[in-house]
Amino acid sequence: MDIIHYLILSLLLFFVGAVGFIIKKNVISVFLCLELMLNAVNLTFVAFAKHLNQVQGQIFVFLVMVVAAAEAAVGLALTIVLFRNRNTLNVDDADTMKW
């Protein structure tokens, strides 16, 4: 199984995530598309780890997962604060830094 198949699949996943990241209005949908993009990059890391027969790519995936967990926790807390203060989940309504 050549590595190019995994790279093309990863590219497609990243592309779908990026398109969703741009066109979605709901904050949580934007977060989900962000997770999709992170996942596509992880697939690239593991594919290269297999291709080069090294384990460093898997360690990077491990670190990316930790960062994704922290990002999801902070982002969802921000979402709850946004909903509490503005009573909306639309990203276009969160247009002021401070009021």
Binding site: L13, A49, V55, A77
Partner: protein, 170 residues
């Protein structure tokens, strides 16, 4: 041949689930599609001889992080409460069928498991990248400092979340 078949099967599932994440109008269904996509990618990790990453993907990513997402969606989205009142009976029967078949599969797998026949020197069979033991050695020797820094990052995230989500008493 078998590997190519599995790649296209799970890659197709991952791609369709990813498109479903973007296309779905309800956020709840988007999150469920993302769980499916993450599990399919975990199967691809197994094909790439990364069993530890696959397990972490299912347990941490599809398990913990997505449960957090679903929790917040159910908290904020009034539609997700309506799902609980869904009256379509056939979905219930389908879920029961899936659950029972998963249980049967699990019982068959556990009955066929023999500890005496598991490969002890797994890294010699599939190359160095396949070994969880080798991964742990590299992680805790060469990459010890980044690993410890991730724990500090998690601590900062936990403190930040508590500060952000706390209800202002004033």
């Amino acid at each position: 041949m078998m590997e190519t078949l599995f790649f296209y099967f799970f890659g197709g599932i991952a791609l369709l689930a990813a498109i479903s994440v973007v296309v779905q109008r309800r956020v709840f269904y988007s999150a469920l599609s993302l769980i499916l996509c993450l599990c399919a990618v975990a199967a691809l990790y197994l094909l790439l001889q990364a069993p530890f990453i696959a397990a972490v993907q299912v347990i941490v990513y599809a398990g913990a992080i997505m449960v957090l997402f679903l929790f917040v969606i159910m908290l904020l989205d009034p539609f997700s409460a309506a799902i609980l009142r869904d009256k379509r009976k056939y979905l219930g029967y389908f879920a029961a069928f899936l659950g029972i078949s998963a249980l049967v599969l699990l019982i068959l797998l556990l009955r066929s498991y023999d500890p005496g026949q598991t490969p002890r020197n797994f890294e010699l069979i599939n190359g160095a990248a396949a070994s969880v033991r080798y991964l742990g050695q590299v992680l805790f020797r060469e990459y010890l400092v980044p690993f410890e820094m991730t724990s500090v990052l998690i601590l900062i995230a936990v403190i930040g979340v508590v500060v952000l989500a706390r209800r202002q008493s004033s």
